[in-house]
Symmetry: C2
Subunit: 349 residues, 2 copies
C-alpha cells in the first residue's frame, strides 16, 4: 500500500485523513470510451475478459484518459457461473444468455465447484499484468457479483423484468436456493481471495439485484452470503466494498456483513446515511449517472451537492450511484473527475 503513488482511495476506505476526496466510476472501463470501443470492435466481450492483455489495456484506459483514483479490473460477474460449468452466450441486443438455466435439484448438482487456478487463471493473469502496467500509480479493485445476484442470472438464464424464476425458487424451494447459494459463496470466496493474492488492493461485491427482494428475503438470501464471503477473505489491509443497489433499509444491520465501505445508489441521501452510521464504514457514491448527460454547470452543481451532503472529513469515495452509461460524452466524465478533485479539497481542511 505504501508503494502506491496515489493511495487516496485506500485511505478513504479506511477513513484516514486525506487531502481531497478520491473518485472513480463504476463501469469506468466501458463503452462510453472510444478507446474501449476500438478494442471491443476487434474482439467479443468474453474474449476480452479471457485475454489478460486486453483486460489490462481497457482497465488502464480510464486512469490515463479520465484521471480516476482507482482502477477496477475489466471483467464480468458471470465468469463465476462459467467457472461452475455454465455455458454463456452474449447475444447482441439481448445481453448474456445461459441456454441451460438452473431450475432443479438435478441442474444444481451439475454445477461444479469453482477451481480458481484452473478455470479462472485468466483473471489472475489479468490482475498481475494490470498491476505491472499500472506501476503503482493507483490501486486496483477486483470485484465479484454477490451470490444472490449471480443466482438470479443462473436461474433466469437471461435478463428479467420480474425475476419470476428466481423468486419461484426462493418461495417454492428455498432449500435448493440455499444449496446453490452456498456453492456460489464458496466459489466467490476463493475467487476474491485469489484476486487479492494476485495483487488486488481492494475488492467490491456487486449485489445488483438485492433490491428486488423484500427485506426479510434480502437478509436471508443475499446479505447472509455476502457476510460469509467477507468473513472468509484472507486479507492484510485490503478494504471490501459492498454495493447493494436499491437496498436502502436497515443500514446498521447491513454493515454487520463486515464491509469497510458501503456503496450507495443515487436515491440515497448520503449525508443522512453518514449521520446514521457514523464512522463505522466509509461511503461510496452516489451521483445520478444520468447527470453526466448534462452540461458542465449542472454536473458541477450536482457533484458539489453530493460532496456537501457527505460533508467534511474523510470516509467518502466519490462515485456514481450506478455504472456510467454507454452514451455519456467522455469529456463530461473527465470534467466530473477534475471537478471532484478540485472542489473536494475544501472538505478536508
Amino acid at each position: 500500500m505504501s508503494k502506491l503513488k496515489n493511495d487516496l482511495f485506500l485511505r478513504a476506505c479506511k477513513g484516514k485523513k486525506i487531502q481531497r476526496t478520491p473518485v472513480w466510476m463504476m463501469r469506468q472501463a466501458g463503452r462510453y470510451l472510444p478507446e474501449y470501443r476500438a478494442v471491443r470492435s476487434q474482439s467479443d466481450f468474453i474474449t476480452m475478459c479471457k485475454t489478460p492483455e486486453l483486460a489490462a489495456e481497457v482497465t488502464i484506459q480510464p486512469i490515463d484518459l479520465i484521471g480516476v483514483d482507482a482502477a477496477i479490473l475489466f471483467s464480468d460477474i458471470l465468469v463465476i457461473p462459467m467457472a461452475m460449468g455454465m455455458e454463456l452466450e452474449m447475444v447482441e441486443s439481448k445481453g448474456p444468455v445461459f441456454h441451460k438455466p438452473i431450475r432443479t435439484e438435478e441442474d444444481a448438482k451439475s454445477l461444479s465447484e469453482v477451481d480458481v487456478d484452473k478455470s479462472l487463471r485468466y483473471v489472475l493473469d489479468a490482475v498481475e499484468l494490470t498491476k505491472k502496467e499500472l506501476d503503482n500509480r493507483v490501486p486496483l479493485i477486483g470485484f465479484s457479483g454477490s451470490p444472490w445476484t449471480l443466482l438470479t442470472y443462473m436461474v433466469e438464464g437471461k435478463g428479467s423484468k420480474n425475476f419470476s424464476e428466481a423468486k419461484k425458487m426462493i418461495y417454492n424451494n428455498p432449500k435448493l436456493a440455499h444449496k446453490i447459494l452456498k456453492k456460489i459463496t464458496k466459489g466467490v470466496t476463493n475467487y476474491l481471495n485469489a484476486k487479492i493474492e494476485a495483487g488486488c488492493n481492494a475488492v467490491q461485491i456487486f449485489d445488483t439485484w438485492g433490491g428486488i427482494l423484500s427485506q426479510s428475503e434480502f437478509f436471508e438470501f443475499s446479505h447472509e452470503y455476502i457476510t460469509q464471503i467477507i468473513s472468509g477473505l484472507k486479507r492484510k489491509d485490503e478494504p471490501v466494498i459492498v454495493f447493494a443497489k436499491g437496498v436502502y433499509y436497515k443500514l446498521k444491520r447491513q454493515i454487520k456483513c463486515g464491509a469497510d465501505v458501503l456503496g450507495l445508489d443515487w436515491t440515497m441521501d448520503i449525508g443522512r446515511v453518514r449521520t446514521r452510521l457514523g464512522d463505522k464504514v466509509a461511503l461510496q457514491g452516489n451521483l445520478d449517472p444520468t447527470v453526466l448527460y448534462a452540461g458542465h454547470d449542472t454536473i458541477a452543481k450536482k457533484a458539489l451537492a453530493v460532496l456537501e451532503s457527505y460533508g467534511k472529513g474523510s470516509g467518502h469515495i466519490f462515485n456514481l450511484g450506478h455504472g456510467i452509461l454507454p452514451d455519456v460524452p467522455p469529456e463530461n466524465a473527465k470534467f466530473l473527475v477534475d471537478f471532484v478533485k478540485e472542489a473536494s479539497v475544501d472538505f478536508h481542511k
Copy 2:
C-alpha cells in the same frame, strides 16, 4: 358511500373501525384471468380502454371471480397523453410506443390542453356503466398516472431502462420539463375531477417512475405536481391514494401531498412505516407480487407476515406491492383474497 353494500375499503382509507382488512390487487383486471384474455382476444388494448362495455366487463371480473373489496376501472395511464394529441401505438412485445416523443419547446407547444368531455368521454361513460353494473356491491377506484410518470413516457416515446431522455430534459432544460408537467397536471386534475363526478368513490395516482429520481429531483419534478393535483380535486369524501414505487424516503414530507393513503411497494417494512407516520395516513400494500407464484402455504405465511407487520387496528388496505403478474394462477389470487378476509379478522378485535 352509505349506499355501498361493502364499504370496507373506503372506511379503511379513512382509518375508521372495520371488521376485517379490505383487499384488492393492482392490475386485478388483467391478463392473469382467462376471462380477461377472452375479452382481449377479441379486441386490442386501446379499443378495450375506449369501449365502455368492454372496460366495465373486465373491471367487474375480479369482483365476481376473485372477490376483491374494490373495483378499479380498467384503463391506461396513457389516455392522458393521447388526449393531449399524442398518437399511441401498442407494439406487440415492445409495449406502448409514441412515434413522436416530446423533446423540444416546439414539441411541447404541440400538446393540446386535455378536454375531458371531448377526448375522454369514453372513460366517464365507462365509469357510469361500471357503477351501474356494480350495483353498489363494492366501491370503484379511478386512477391516473402522476405527471412525472406520464412525462417519462411522453419524452422517452417508449419503454426505457435508464430514462436518458427524460433525465436529459430535467437536467438540461428543467424549465421545459416544468412547463410540460404543469400542462399534464392541469389535465390530470380535470380528468380525476370528472371521474369523481362520474361516480368514482376513490382515486389512485400511480407514480410508477418516481423512484428513478434522486430525492431532490423527486420532490421538484414529481411530488410537487402530485400535491397540486390533490389540492385541485373537488371531492366530498373520496379518498386519494398515492403509490410512488421505489420512493421509500422522507415519508413525512411525502404525505404532505395530501393523500389519504400511501401505497407501499414490497421492499418497504409496512410496520415501520406505520410507526413512523402514526395515524396521519392509511397504508396500502405490500405483498411481493411474486409470492403468488408460490404454494398456498407460503402465500398464507407471507400474507400473514404483512398483516402482522401492520398490526392491529384500521388504516390498512391489503394489496400487492406492485401489479399482479400476468402468469400468476388465478386460484392463487383467489386463495390470497380469501385468506386475507379470514385471517385479518383477528387484527380488528
